[in-house]
Amino acid sequence: MGMTMTQKILAAHAGLDFVEAGQLIEANLDLVLGNDITSPVAINEMKKFENQKLFDGGKIALVMDHFAPNKDIKSAENCKICRDFANENEIVNFFDVGRMGIEHALLPEQGLTVSGDCIIGADSHTCTYGALGAFSTGTGSTDMAAAMITGKAWFKVPSAIKFNLKGKLSKDVCGKDVILHIIGKIGVDGALYKSMEFAGEGVASLSIDDRFTICNMAIEAGGKNGIFPVDDITLCYIKEHSNRTPKIFEADEDAVYDEVIDIDLSALRPTVAFPHLPENTKVVGEFGDIKIDQAVIGSCTNGHISDLRSAAAQMKGKKVAKDVRCIVIPATQEIYKQAVKEGLVDIFIDAGAIFSTPTCGPCLGGYMGVLAAGERCVSTTNRNFIGRMGHVESEVYLASPAVAAASAIAGKIVAPTV
């Protein structure tokens, strides 16, 4: 019996030749991360440990992205706790305002995540780095605290669902549509406790940003992690961003999967998840008019440069509909600069959108676009739970950057123009 890609990475980090689904292991970690919401809780927990020495300050990353630049006094206090902790412990990868970006776009860009890594983060979307062929998963603050000291975490080795990708995406469809389609198919607990392993000839046609988006939302299907095989696209991205050497793991040919699901990429259409669960998916065009009050383009899911390009292509020379607020948020400072260079920011501002500094802000109803009762938002973010972006009676529709941008122009949810 062979191992899945995830199982191989876990075995290597646990010092074992073989692991199987259900086995409890303790694995060495290559990176431990937290943000301005989860890290203060972890730092507080750490004070209860008898040994408070960090296992390796170079393998800890703290990113002030959720409520930063600070939205209120309590958020400022939380960031200060993190800042003081980083200074006292000489944590080099402390990303404060000016250096920060949204963690899951920032850390790969900074070269801190490479193929073969074993990573935990006190943030549920830590599963994003599977795009690079790493094992990464979200945990809570206590796990983060223990990991900062021990450099280890316990895992129950997951079984896996294999998604066999075939064909190529149409021009108006991207990674977001792929993952929304999959979540719609298997449900928000369809991959509960499991790995989502992507494979097949269709992988080669997906850009690294598409892969980040797909792995990012593995958690929205309940998955422990999402993971892509390593190919030239992965290695090229890592070479551009990191000095570290990637380690390539491949699933065994006789690896055992709970299920194999075929996905024909060429058959996918622009897809939207209706309130209040990411599994409530519908294809654009198969529902009546959904008027919107706001469009948000950004987040760890879709704040990459390719996402901004795709949104700008829809908005170029056009105007955001009257009564619609359009908020565009690049995920990192580098992406911000690139968007300026390429003239994308001009396109957004000329269309009547705003262009913000990087922050998670509106995705979790923090600030920078909180909704009032009865308001609707089409958003490229990852969750549309009750009250996620503001008032409990507001609604969030999840979509790709192209759909969100086209909808901002139309004032209702529409398909992008090709």
Partner: protein, 163 residues
């Protein structure tokens, strides 16, 4: 060790954003968080909950964010155990790490109703509905996790191991 109390019953996919909305995540203490526990799906919860009460819900309880604030808010509100068909994995992990007892039993989760008086024996995993007299066998924790729970959470577990 056992838990005993009255039941607050909820449906499927109770997410971390309704357990503790993000607008309160700038708070970090259990006491503060408990004031807003379940607020977005049950405004009365915080006024009605008594020490020892039990939350029963259907599949995928605690889905969404990794915020440890969610199990902490529930624990600090006085809830003694959460029973569900299944739990989302990060919530499951966080609950063990902070010492909030949780137990999976699809049958119990389906049949127990709002307001029922329920008893849970953590050593045997037996859930008893005192109101109806019916008993259910819940899934006991694997030994590895029992060690963490018995140590009083992950912090003590690590402290003990380092001795």
């Amino acid at each position: 060790m056992e838990a005993r109390g009255h039941v607050f019953k909820y449906g499927e996919n109770v997410d971390t954003d309704v357990i503790i909305p993000a607008r309160y995540l700038n708070a970090t203490t259990g006491e503060e968080l408990a004031k807003h526990c379940m607020e977005d799906i049950d405004k009365d919860f915080v006024n009605k909950v008594q020490k020892g009460d039990i939350i029963v819900a259907r599949k995928n309880f605690g889905c969404g964010s990794s915020r440890e604030h969610a199990p902490l808010a529930i624990k600090s509100s006085g809830v003694s155990v959460v029973i569900a068909d299944t739990f989302a994995r990060i919530f499951y992990r966080n609950s063990i790490n902070i010492g909030l007892p949780i137990i999976e039993s699809p049958e119990a989760a389906k049949e127990i109703n709002q307001g029922d008086e329920v008893k849970v024996d953590f050593d045997t995993g037996i859930i008893t509905n005192i109101t109806t007299g019916k008993s259910y066998k819940g899934q006991a924790f694997p030994e590895f996790m029992q060690n963490i729970i018995n140590a009083g959470g992950l912090v003590n577990y690590v402290n003990n191991k380092n001795k």
